[in-house]
């Protein structure tokens, strides 16, 4: 089996599992309790906070543990919106290809009277910093742009965008769920005010994440209750999960360069191999891209059948086709970079893991070639394209 869907989730690292299971036995106390069992859990929690903060160049008190990336996104955006509203600033800038945790929160804010500007991400899937600057208004309270896209893997010019926001006095949030642990992130150097992250994207457990908030920025609660997380996120902490996240993050961060070097080599080999398929195209910029992300469109076929047949060959991947999402529209990310519906349905996302081998890459290339050729052999769309009845797009 070749697992090539690491952008969906990753397998937990043995070290993270060890941390988690050990702590479930040994540090089960409530961190808010004053006796020894509670204080031990508190110690574990604060060590994890320091570890996570250290990896991204933050201070421990700037980290709020959450249930994951979606909660962190919601809280960051809601907090900035609340601050903006208080000052009569009700304009937010984002992009059309954000994760739904961001887009749906923005849609909800729109109903509450906020004005939302979604920037163009162009055909290469990259935001242009000058366009961010041009979009900022007197009443802009937040710019929220993802660090790296979850489907096409394009890495945004975060540092430049952050510098613009800092200069203009506008809060800058980034959804870094796909970036943390995979590419360098430094909240200070990158001029980031708020950042969301999720443990299960870097070999940590599901249901755990964190929100970085630069000190001095007032955060509003999504969950009211006890005084946990500096009063910013109520609920008894998931101590073992949080500590396992810190273990996974430290582990992957220590190997980041080595991992990236290998993954980029494997990624580029995959891209070159898949380009041998006629009427196929890579989605998103080839260079400004996550080390493990490959995303292609193949004309004349549909993504779900491609996935099912690849699964039969032991390859697990994903697609932006409508059929895999349960909706009628294909991926909003592919539409945002200008892929038309017909082509977007035939997309394939391969997000490879650090342990991928060259032989596995060769096998993936051959398998995709075979499956695409087979599906095209009885596709009426492909027949019409070949007969000249309709025009090739790719």
């Amino acid at each position: 089996m070749i697992y090539a869907d690491n952008a969906a989730t990753t397998k937990m690292s043995p070290a993270a599992i060890h941390t988690m299971t050990t702590l479930l036995e040994e540090a089960w106390g409530n961190p808010s309790s004053l006796y020894e069992h509670g204080q031990k859990a508190k110690e574990v929690l604060e060590q994890a906070r320091a570890d996570v903060a250290g990896v991204i160049g933050a201070e421990p008190r700037e980290i709020i543990f959450t249930s994951g990336g979606s909660e962190a996104d919601n809280q960051a955006i809601r907090s900035a919106a609340a601050l903006g509203k208080k000052n009569g600033k009700m304009h937010i800038i984002s992009t059309a290809f954000e994760h739904h945790a961001v887009l749906h929160t923005l849609e909800a804010l729109k109903k509450e009277g906020f004005e939302i500007t979604l920037l163009d991400v162009h055909s290469d899937g990259l935001v242009v910093p000058e366009e961010v600057e041009a979009a900022i208004r007197e009443d802009t309270c937040l710019v929220t742009i993802m660090f790296a896209n979850n489907e096409i893997g394009t890495i945004q010019p975060i540092r430049e965008i952050g510098a613009i926001c800092r200069r203009k006095g506008v809060l800058f949030h980034t959804d870094a769920v796909q970036a943390i642990g995979h590419i360098p992130v430094d909240v200070k150097a990158d001029n980031i005010d708020m950042l969301s992250s999720s443990a299960h994207k870097f070999h940590g457990p599901k249901g755990v994440g964190f929100l970085y908030v630069r000190k001095g920025i007032k955060v509003s609660n999504l969950i009211e209750g006890g005084a946990q997380e500096g009063g910013k996120r109520a609920g008894t902490e998931n101590v073992a999960g949080i500590a396992a996240m810190a273990t996974a993050l430290k582990e992957i961060n220590a190997k980041m360069e080595e991992n990236a070097e290998h993954l980029i080599k494997m990624r580029d080999k995959l891209i070159c191999g898949l380009y041998e398929i006629p009427h196929a195209a890579l989605n998103g910029d080839a260079c400004q891209r996550l080390p493990g992300n490959v995303n292609f469109c193949f004309e004349g076929i549909e993504g779900e059948s491609l996935l099912l047949l690849l699964d039969d060959k032991g390859i697990q991947a994903s697609s932006g086709s409508a059929c895999t999402s349960g909706s009628l529209d294909p991926s909003h990310v592919l539409l945002a970079i200008g892929r038309v519906h017909d082509v977007a349905h035939g997309s394939l996302r391969l997000t490879i893991g650090e342990d991928i081998t060259e032989e596995q890459v060769d096998y993936i290339i051959q398998s995709v070639k075979d499956v695409v050729r087979y599906l095209r052999s009885f596709s009426p769309v492909w027949r019409d394209l070949c007969a000249g009845k309709s025009k090739f797009i790719l």
């Binding site: 549909e302 779900e304 086709s321 059929c323 895999t324 009628l328 349905h345 009426p380």
Partner: protein, 125 residues
Amino acid sequence: MALYSEKVMDHFRNPRNVGVIEDANGIGEVGNAKCGDIMKMYLKIEDDIIQDVKFETFGCGSAIASSSMATELIKGKPVSEAMQLTNKAVAEALDGLPAYKMHCSVLAEEAIQSALEDYHKRTGK
């Protein structure tokens, strides 16, 4: 639990009656690429009997399986019987489809009906 029944996967992995009939006397095409599903049915009808049927489909697993099953259900049958084919019959023969995939069986029914209409138009029957 798997997304699809064993029957669906069987017809998806080994679709029956795939291809084109060069001298078809009834052809129907339904769906559009924008929505992600297109089915094309070719019928060869002689003496009011569907002697041969073939299909081409651009679509998801259940679209391909529905096309395949629909062709199996009408092959060798009288035209009058084929005209009674419903999407429900296709879905049932596949041991069911997920609710949000039922439109694939509808498309299969429509493709067959469209090909039969074309046959009737051509033959003036």
